[in-house]
Each structure stands twice: as structure tokens, then as C-alpha cells.
């Protein structure tokens, strides 16, 4: 009756190839978190070391307590899909003291076409700059450490009580309790930035945990564009065969509050190293008439667990979310998206696309909730997958919970299929070699997100990264099996 566990007593070959060839450890029970650092003492140490005010210490301790008692998976629907086997983080230690400002004497040059940049590497701030226009308009871009000195009351209003993180989520409470670096971007009412703000996180030190928060507050009628990069802090370590492979841990949030009629576009690229475990929480409260666009690309890391919460609180608010995954090797992407329609006449348009090679796996879990108050909702959720090698696995759970039938649209759609033989034939008939044709089709499949990246340099880099991954896949012979389908 449960739609989840394979029945015992069945002589089915379902899991055979799962275990053959690879030597995966036993599936972790939902309670088995793969790291040990998170306890009350660490929360205390973080607060003490950084001389935090009492309210912030209390906030950390409340979160640490919630972390203790909450289940790993907040949603009963998804429990059986938790898979943290790939994470070996028992030895990781989080940064306790981190820099609040760049080192004295360093100079940050603003890249072309950017209104602000903050660049954080492990425990340091390696770049921070804001254009004159942005500064004049009252925009602030700073670390939590700097905000505590400059505007402690403002920071307190923004983060106390964890109101921009899901209260029922163990991993969100983890970052609320144990963050060691934070970025705060505030765009005042009515300010329209001409260029994007760039936030870059560099992570990857083995056996290190980087727990971070990014708080974005966009005032009424303000317009802003944010580009977020999660990239390796250095080259991969070479390990001898049989040696323990140390992993790094990155856990970051993006906590967004949009005032009335505000507009925000966020493009995020996650391209961390192959020995990285990445957890992400993105949480957006969208006010009346405001609109939010997400363009998210997941390329790197050994294991990614991402959760996005869109709360359409104001009337006529809207969210558009496009996410792509391009997985190779043994990468695992566990991506959950919750969209809650609360105000009247809200719009949600969510699209997830995944292309998988080798033994890569993706779990795309989406839940749209239409509350009773959300009259006139228009909501669409699409999850589409392309399995390009035999040993890939794509799981999609596009769910709906609807309490208000008076909606313009409430639907989801999902498909998984190989490369379309007709498209391939067409391209080949135009003289394009088969490998090239397949590349066009796959990269074209992922293009909707690439095209939404607002910063040209970042967009180009994303295209390059996708091409590189594709080329590596071809070199490894991972894509050959599609011939059979074609």
C-alpha cells in the first residue's frame, strides 16, 4: 500500500544494478546526519567568539534546539528518498571565526556591468565593492559581522526568530544555528539598480564546513538583479587510491523578502568541486504585486540537497522559477521546491529540467499548495528529465495540494524521455555530426535557464561549463547508449 518501499518477498531485479559495481554503504536512516559538529556547545562558541549580542545568541540556541528535535525530512511524502550515503562529513569542522570585511589594504575592482560584488572564500572576505550609484541610492551590501556594528537593530529585525527560513526544516535550522558567515543586501524603497549585484561563495577546503546565510531585502517598488555563484575555493586535492577522500561541506541560504511591487531576478550557478557536499535553502516572501524570478543551475558537487520555498503572500504576487541540473559521474541532486499561494490572483510558474549522464541521479520534488485564501491562482509546475546513460536515475514527484478551486490554472506536467530521434535525424540531415547534434539537443534542453542569467559574463561561463561537462561525458563514453534509442 505504501507507494515507497519495494515489497519484500518480491523476486524483482529492481535494485540489482543499484548495488552491482558500486560499493555503496547502507542507506542512512533519516536520523543519521553525516556530520557531528552541530551541538549546543558550537552554537555557544560561535556566539562567544564573535561577541554576539544576547538576542543573536538566543536565536542560535533556539535553532540548535530545533535542529536536535526535528526530523531530517520535513515532509512525510518524501522520507524514503533521503539519501545521504555519498556524504562522509564526520570529520568536517565549521569555521568559527570569519572575517567581516576584506583585509586591510586590499582593493576590490567592480567587474564590468556590475553594481556590487561581495566575494567570500572559506573564512575570508576577498572582495567587497558597491558602485557609486548604488551607494548613493542607499543600497547596502555587507557581511552580518559588519551589519552588527553598523546597523544592529536592522539586522535584528531581519533575522531574529528565523522568519525567513522554514521552521519545520532541520537543515534550515542547522544553518540558522551554526552560520559563520552572512551577507546582507538591502535595496531601499523605489531604488532601481541598473546592474546586477554579484555574490560569490568559494568553498571546498577538505574537512571544512562553510555555513552561510544571504539575506536579501528589496523595498517597495525597487528593482534588483542578483547573481549568486557557488564555486570551488581551490583546485581538487589529489588522493592516493584507497585513501579516505576528505569532503568539504557548503550550506548556504538565500533569504528573500520582497516589498510591494518589488522586482527581483536571481540567477545562481552551483559549480562546486566533486568532493563537495552542498545544502541550499532558498526562501522567499513575496509581497503584494511583487515578482521574483529564479534561474538556477546545478552542475557541481558530489551531493546536493536543495530546498526552495516561495511564499506568495501578497495579492497579485508572482514567482517564476527555472532550474536545471546537469549531472555526471555519481552526482546526486536532491531538489525540493515548495510554492505556497496565499494571496489572491497570484502566479507561479515553475520549471525544472534535468539531464543525467553516467550514474548520476536526480530527485525533483515539487509541491504546490493553494490555500483557501488564494482565489484566482495560476500555478504550473513542470519537471522534465533526460536520462542519457543507462545507469542514471530520475525521480520526479510533482505534487499539488489544493484548497481553493477558484483558480485560473492549477496543473503540473512531467516527462522523461531519451533524446528525440526526430530532432536528431533532422540535425544530422543538415550535416551535423551525431555527437554534435546530441550536444545541441541536450544543451538546448537546458537553455531556458542559461538564457535567463542576466549577467553576460556569467551566462557565457555557464555555457562553457555545460559544454565542458558534456565533452567530459563524451570522452568517458557515457552517452553512447542513446544510439539504441535513436
Amino acid at each position: 500500500m505504501t507507494s515507497t518501499s519495494a515489497p519484500s518477498g518480491e523476486a524483482v531485479p529492481a535494485s540489482k544494478s543499484d548495488t552491482a559495481g558500486t560499493n555503496r554503504p547502507r542507506r542512512r536512516a533519516p536520523a543519521d546526519i553525516p556530520f557531528r559538529f552541530a551541538d549546543r556547545a558550537l552554537a555557544e562558541a560561535l556566539a562567544t567568539e564573535r561577541a554576539e549580542p544576547a538576542w543573536l545568541r538566543a536565536d542560535r540556541l533556539a535553532a540548535a534546539e530545533a535542529f536536535e528535535v526535528l526530523p531530517t525530512e520535513a515532509n512525510q511524502l518524501y522520507t524514503p528518498y533521503i539519501d545521504l550515503r555519498a556524504a562522509t562529513l564526520e570529520a568536517v569542522r565549521p569555521w568559527v571565526q570569519t572575517a567581516s570585511v576584506p583585509e586591510a589594504g586590499s582593493v576590490t575592482l567592480l567587474p564590468d556591468g556590475v553594481d556590487g560584488i561581495i566575494d567570500l572564500r572559506e573564512d575570508r572576505v576577498v572582495g567587497l565593492g558597491l558602485s557609486d550609484d548604488a551607494t548613493a541610492a542607499g543600497v547596502t551590501l555587507e557581511t552580518f559581522g559588519a551589519a552588527l556594528v553598523r546597523d544592529p537593530d536592522g539586522l535584528r529585525r531581519d533575522i531574529e526568530g528565523g522568519v525567513t527560513l522554514p521552521v519545520d526544516d532541520k537543515l534550515a535550522q542547522l544553518v540558522r544555528g551554526f552560520w559563520s558567515q552572512g551577507v546582507r543586501l538591502v535595496v531601499p524603497d523605489g531604488v532601481r539598480l541598473a546592474h546586477p549585484i554579484l555574490v560569490r561563495w568559494q568553498s571546498g577546503n577538505p574537512d571544512r564546513a562553510m555555513l552561510t546565510r544571504t539575506l536579501v531585502r528589496i523595498g517597495a517598488r525597487a528593482h534588483a538583479v542578483l547573481v549568486e555563484e557557488q564555486v570551488p575555493s581551490g583546485p581538487d586535492l589529489e588522493c592516493a587510491a584507497g585513501e579516505r577522500v576528505p569532503q568539504g561541506f557548503f550550506h548556504g541560504t538565500t533569504e528573500v523578502v520582497l516589498g510591494a511591487d518589488a522586482q527581483l531576478a536571481i540567477a545562481a550557478i552551483q559549480d562546486l568541486g566533486p568532493r563537495q557536499v552542498a545544502f541550499q535553502h532558498r526562501f522567499a516572501r513575496i509581497g503584494e504585486g511583487a515578482s521574483l524570478h529564479w534561474a538556477l543551475a546545478q552542475l557541481g558537487s558530489r551531493l546536493v540537497r536543495s530546498r526552495i520555498d516561495n511564499r506568495l503572500e501578497g495579492d497579485r504576487s508572482s514567482v517564476e522559477q527555472a532550474e536545471i541540473v546537469f549531472g555526471t559521474d555519481e552526482q546526486l541532486f536532491d531538489l525540493t521546491s515548495y510554492t505556497r499561494h496565499i494571496g489572491r490572483d497570484t502566479t507561479g510558474n515553475l520549471l525544472s529540467k534535468g539531464a543525467l549522464l553516467d550514474r548520476a541521479r536526480s530527485y525533483m520534488k515539487g509541491l504546490i499548495t493553494i490555500e483557501k485564501s488564494a482565489i484566482g491562482t495560476d500555478s504550473f509546475l513542470g519537471e522534465f528529465g533526460m536520462n542519457l546513460s543507462k545507469a542514471t536515475r530520475a525521480v520526479a514527484i510533482p505534487s499539488l495540494e489544493i484548497d481553493q478551486p477558484d483558480c485560473r490554472r492549477a496543473m503540473h506536467s512531467s516527462s522523461v524521455g531519451p533524446i528525440d530521434a526526430n530532432q536528431l535525424f533532422y540535425l544530422e540531415s543538415r550535416g551535423i555530426p551525431p555527437d554534435e547534434a546530441r550536444k545541441f539537443i541536450v544543451l538546448g534542453f537546458l537553455e531556458p535557464v542559461v538564457a535567463r542569467v542576466p549577467l553576460e559574463a556569467t551566462q557565457d561561463r555557464l555555457r562553457e561549463l555545460l559544454e565542458e561537462k558534456w565533452a567530459a561525458g563524451i570522452a568517458a563514453g557515457s552517452v553512447g547508449s542513446t544510439d539504441a534509442a535513436a
Binding site: G9, I402, R409
Partner: protein
Amino acid sequence: MTSTRDLVADSRDQYAFHDDIVYLKETKRGLTRDTVEEISGFKNEPQWMLESRLRAYDHFLKRPMPVWTDGLDKIDFDKIVYYRKPSEREEKSWDDVPEQIKATFEKLGIPEAERKFLAGVGAQYDSEVVYHSVKEELSKIGVVFMGTDQGLIEYPEIFRKYYGTVVPHEDNKFSALNGAVWSGGSFVYVPKGVEVPLPLQAYFRINGENTGQFERTLIVVEEGAKVHYIEGCTAPIYATDSLHVAVVEVVALPGSKVRYTTIQNWSNDVYNLVTKRAHAHAGAKVEWIDANTGSRKTVKYPSIYLRGEGASADIISVAVAGRGQHQDTGAKAIHLAPNTTSRIVSKSVSKDGGRATYRGQLKVAPGATGVVASVRCDALMLDDESRSDTYPYIDIQEDDTTMTHEATVGKISADQIFYLMSRGLTENEAQNLVIQGFLEVFTKELPMEYAIEFNRLVKLEMEGSLG
């Protein structure tokens, strides 16, 4: 064999357990190991079945209650009578049947003679005669169609070979419960190459025994054979106890074709928790046509495991959830072999605060190449008090699967109603027509007399005539 087992056997002999049968009318309320032994002893079952029941009982105790759907914690297992001797079930009188149910029979146009049977108060009615003549015809072509208890005794080899192979006791908490206390249900065996010319209707057969609360149905269809099995009826079934936990196992051997049609209309206090699963071997075609209109809560996802190359699955699942009801239904197609196909269509209507949930699974296992699968779920909500959920689980582990899934939720469009009303229909008639059209994918698969009754039933539901 454990020593406990021997002890049980010994004590049975010692107390001349079998001789007591005559005096046993029903088991005590609640479920203990003794209850299970009592049921098995009463039925004079072979030792292996007793052991199987006890194994199921142990698993039932061990298995936690599912938490992914709500409300099941309200079931009080200690208040249930797990076995009643058939003749004891008929002591109630027509006067005990709630007025509402009687009125429904009236509106559905159920013949007087059938009403008592449907209400669980009639011992006999004319279909018995029909059943006997049908049975004679079937036995001429080698088809077995009888009660499951009887099947266990008369066809021990076939029974033991397949029993519990499709739905093991350990599958879920309720399959374990059924495995421990099952009674009644149908046993169907169709020999190689035989096409059963008429639908087998449990409706007639179960007349003599009353509807089982913990029925177990086993259908084995040999190579190249073909059968259509129909259970349930449109009239609400009035049950004395509020728990119905059934298991249905279908074995469709290579090249066979099986269709299983259900119209479930339990009265609105019943928890209806059913595990239905079929194994489709190479080239076999299995179809579940499943409608749920009654019960307080139904948890049921007819499943097809496509185990042989070229097997195909077709599942149509319909649910109507009214006041106080939760229909947690759906379908599962598990592709385990190459070139298998599946199609799932789900339609639900929720109204007057009812809740309709689609929960489904589509899985393509490694090695199942060339799979083509589709899932379509549509939900209609007739008012703001109601709720509709969709939880599809899609798990693809091959690179050449073609899978599409679509789901929509909405209300009846005002344009459609306006159009129909402009053609002279009342608002209520217009609404009915739209709903009947919405559910037509289901009704068109029914034999005509069922389709007519089903449409009448939906109309009644929509008028709010049923509670």
C-alpha cells in the same frame, strides 16, 4: 519448526479444538494470536495456512501505522470482530438499516429482493439461481469461480503456489492484517487458452456468504486465457463493522488478458483499506477499472507489476469524495521488463468538504528498456470547502523510457454551465452532465447496466441526497 508452533498444535489436539467449531459463532472483539488460531481452526485449514496467518499477525504487530496519509490512527483495532460465521451475519433485520440507505436503494431503482441482500440483512435472493447456472457453464470449460475458503480446500496446489506471491504479508500493515484474519473473497482459475465468455460477477457469487470484511481474492489466469471480473455494486453497502481490509492478487500469466472492475460504494462510516496488485507476465495485459464513491476513507492504489517483456497495464481510477470523506486513491505501474507499456488515468471529484487525493507510482527499473508510460490525473472541485491533492511518484532508471505525466485541478467552467443552461437545462442538470462527461473515461468501460447505475449514483451524490 519452532517449539511454539508445536505447542500450538498440541494444545489444539488436547482441547479437541475442531469439535468446538459447532459452537463458535464469532471471535471475541479484538485481535490476538488466539483469534488468528481460532479463525484458522474454525475453517479447518491446513497447517501451512495457519502458519502463514501467524506470520502475518506477527508482522501486523511489528509494522508501524502508515503516517503518509492521515486519520488511520482513529481505527480502534480492539473494537473489531475479526470473524463471524456466515450464518451469524444475517441476524439483523431490515428495520435496523438506516433510512438513508433505504432511500438510496429506492432512488437507484434496486429491486426489492436485492435490497435486503445489499443491506446485509437478506439471506437469499434470486441471483443464487443465476449463479448456479453460470457456475455450471463455467465448469464445462474448466474455469473455477468459487469462494476463497473453498478454493484453498479444493485446489490446494494452485492456491498454495500463488497465494501471497503477489501481495506478501510484509508488503504493508494492512496486507499483514488481511493475511492474519482473511475470510471470504473469490478464487478464480482460468485454464490455458480459455476465454471466459461473460464477466464473472462477485456480486452474484458472494450472495450466499455476504460481503467479507477481510476478503482475500486470488485470480490466476493461465497462458493466453482471458477473463473479466467485476466486484461491487452501485448501491451503498451497509456494513456492521467499520473496517474493510481486503487483498486482491491477480496473476496474469504470459499472453493472458485480465480486466478487473470495481465499483466501491461502502457506507460513509467505513475505513476501506485495500491492497490490489497484479503481476503481468510476458505479453499479458492487465486492466484495473476502479471507482470509489463510498466509505469514510479509502486507501487503495491498484498496482500492476510488469514482469515480462511486452506486458501492458491500463488503470482507470475514479473517486468521488463528498462530505466527511477522504478518497486516497490512485494507481501504480512498476515496469520490471523491457518493452512494457502502461497508462494511468485518474479522475476525481470532491465536493461538500470532501477530500480527493491521487497518489501514484510509476517506476521503471534498470533493465526495463523501451518502456512507454503515461499518467494523467484530473480533479474537479465543486466548492471551496473541498480539497484535492496530487502526489505522483515517478522513478525512471533507464535511458530510453518515454514517460509523460499531466495533472490538472479546477472547477467546472462557468462557460460550460452557461452554455448548457442556454440550451434549456437547469443548473443542476448542467452540472451533472459536465461531471458525467468528466467521468466518461470510466463509465464507457463498464457493462451497460453498471454504467447506467453508476451515472444515477453520481447524480444522486451531486444532489447531496447521500450523506
